[in-house]
């Protein structure tokens, strides 16, 4: 029973981060109708920024070998700051990989290519600057908090609970902002119809930039949390999470915020429930599950069925 509890806590906390990460995809998809393939790279950057802000040093193999910031922040300060940096990077991605094509009203395929290119550039720059080695956030990153907690007889890593609490907090704040603020409502209006929103006096371009900034912030926070929990396994570690989050996005229903959260929790828990001896195949099991759900419900769990008008 305690083992099951431990597995469930792991699954739900991992799933919450999946959901948070997938929300970044969802926001951009809702507004532009395209998938931002640079999102995984921004996630990776979030982990690296958190690592550096917390006082981590660059390893021996990058151009910045040995570099260490002259200050070190506690994790609680480093994480949101890393999110702000990744929000700026995401704005840079929007300005270089999306805005020029939007001006030409380019086909969605081109956005995929340019955002993929932007992501690859970011990852390669990271490798040149920081080396290809893995990094771990310091084991005492959570300060005085114990490494593990005993809950109902189960040993749970404190970091998993931190993941769960921070993800839930960010999700609540995001939902409150989307539903309760003028900015959030304007963003929803642009996602409904950018042209009509512009006619109603909403600056659609500014809203798209805001959307990228929020998406980048979410990716950065997710990257920092995963880096804290599982370490940064090199510049490419965002790729598998990016693919996973794409699966979550589709499972939840393209453009559905609650769908992304629900799907994140489902995928995280489903992976956690794969028996230990079969864990090597958990990715295959997760994607098989996704495949099966989409066969039964192509629009995703909470997505709307799209009707083509002719």
């Amino acid at each position: 029973m305690d083992t099951l509890l431990q597995i469930l806590v792991n699954g739900i906390s991992t799933g919450a981060v999946y959901g948070l990460f997938a929300l970044g995809y969802t926001l951009v998809f809702s507004v532009l109708g395209v998938i931002n393939f640079a999102h995984g790279a921004v996630f990776t950057l979030g982990a690296y920024f958190t690592y550096l802000l917390i006082g981590g040093a660059v390893g021996a193999n990058g151009l910045l070998a040995g570099l260490q910031l002259p200050f070190s922040l506690p994790f609680w300060a480093a994480l949101p700051l890393a999110g702000l940096f990744t929000a700026l990077v995401s704005l840079g991605v929007e300005a270089t990989a999306f805005r020029p094509l939007r001006r030409f009203q380019a086909e969605p395929l081109l956005y995929l290519i340019t955002s993929l290119g932007a992501g690859v550039i970011v990852v390669n720059l990271l490798q040149i600057l920081m080396g290809a080695e893995g990094y771990s956030l310091p084991t005492n990153a959570l300060g005085a908090l114990p490494i593990t907690l005993s809950i109902g007889g189960a040993q749970v890593r404190t970091v998993q609970l931190v993941l769960l609490v921070v993800s839930a907090l960010v999700l609540v704040l995001l939902t409150a902002w989307l539903e309760g603020s003028r900015g959030g409502k304007a963003l929803q209006a642009v996602s409904e119809d950018a042209t009509t929103a512009r006619l109603l006096g909403i600056n659609s371009d500014a809203m798209i930039r805001l959307c990228f900034a929020v998406s980048g912030f979410l990716a950065g926070i997710s990257g920092g949390l995963v880096g804290l929990s599982l370490s940064i396994t090199g510049p490419y570690f965002g790729i598998s999470y990016g693919l996973k989050a794409l699966g979550v996005l589709v499972l939840g229903g393209l453009g559905s915020v609650p769908g992304a959260v629900l799907a994140g929790l489902i995928v995280g828990t489903a992976e956690a429930l794969v028996p230990g001896e079969w864990s090597g195949y958990k990715e295959a099991i997760a994607y098989a599950f996704l495949f099966g759900v989409l066969l039964l419900r192509p629009s995703g769990l909470l997505g709307k069925t799209l009707v083509n008008k002719v």
């Binding site: 083992t3 431990q6 597995i7 792991n10 699954g11 991992t14 040093a57 390893g59 021996a60 193999n61 270089t96 990989a97 020029p100 094509l101 030409f104 009203q105 380019a106 086909e107 081109l110 290519i113 340019t114 993929l116 290119g117 932007a118 690859v120 550039i121 990852v123 390669n124 720059l125 490798q127 040149i128 290809a132 080695e133 893995g134 990094y135 771990s136 084991t139 490494i147 040993q155 890593r157 970091v159 995963v226 929990s229 599982l230 370490s231 396994t233 090199g234 490419y236 570690f237 598998s240 992976e271 956690a272 794969v274 028996p275 230990g276 001896e277 079969w278 864990s279 090597g280 195949y281």
Partner: protein, 413 residues
Amino acid sequence: MRFPVVRRQRQWQRQLSRALPSVLTALALPLALAACASRPAGNGANGAKGLPTIGAAIALTGNASVIGQDQRIGLQLAHTYFQGKGAELRLQIEDGGSDEATATNAFRSLINAGVVALIGPSLSQQAFAVDPIADRGGIPVVGPSNTAKGIPEIGPFVSRVSAPVAKVAPLSINAALKLNPQIRRAAVFYAQDDAYSSSESKIFQKVLAERGLKPLTVQKTSVTDTDFQNQITDTLRRNPDLIVISALPTDGGNLVRQIRELGYKGSLVVGNGMNSPNIYPICQKYCDGLLIAQAYSPEATTPINKAFLALYSKDRGGAIPPQFSAQAFTAYQVLAEALTAVQTSLPAGKTLAALPLPELRRQLNTTLLKGSYQTPLGEIRFSPEGEVIQKQFYVAQVRMNPDGKSGRFQLLP
């Protein structure tokens, strides 16, 4: 009248031509950056005239890059050291990545560039895919870190300086049992999608069974895994007092950290894939106590090891070389010395460049396998199949410094 689809295509072409510069820049820049990253300064020119070139395809990117980075240093130091000592050679290093496709491209690229011999790839998994290409072309390949069963058997042109897992792996289990004779319950983790890890784990499991420690559980992971918590939970509920891991540095280091964080206090034996100080930043203070069998001792007092230690220390700010650097140095050394021997056998005034490349490769391979070499790994030679014959092996225990950032591989008596 135009069909809508044609109009749409033309519109798309116009848009594409406008957006093309951005798209091409986006696609070309990372390739250029990757090329910069993978080609260290000071390497020989591609296909340089006159001098034989040794090509190396090692993992500079991907999850085995921590191995490849150690190897790059070893190769560069060897290239520097052997300049002016025998045959003049060039060294060309390519990124062989951590997967079979990238290694294949790197091997083909080096072969097309006319290298006389190849060093690499970093992983056994890759070696099974790419060594046959070189073997079919009659190009000698020396594996610097391929320890899986069956590597030299790939073909007559394939050899290795990395001792097979069957020789090395049992030593660390023996050391763990010597340190703690009370060990009764063992568990095993290995990366099922990596040939070296699978091969090593089979040896580990066989040795455990021979010592009466049939594993309580065998957990299969993947080299790309980062979250092992559920497998660890499943394992720890069986109360093991020895956990044996076969994985690569990044996933293995991560696994060690999570095992310790979840409260495991028993012995940890890890395989050759984690035989690098590059694991320190990953498992940090939790690396302390890991037992790893070694094919290299920095404490050896042979002249060549002293020279290697001095070169490495000067290059890396006083650090002690890891096994992968020593093995890469050795791989270059055996080729350099064999080429020198081939040159010496030529009539006076005739250089290696005078030999047709296929003939030079053939002579190199024959000479390589006949020779005996004083290397940082000690005296080594090869079996007729290309298997390394090495006399001494060691077991080290990782000892982390109190800062949890640095440490050392302390050899056990």
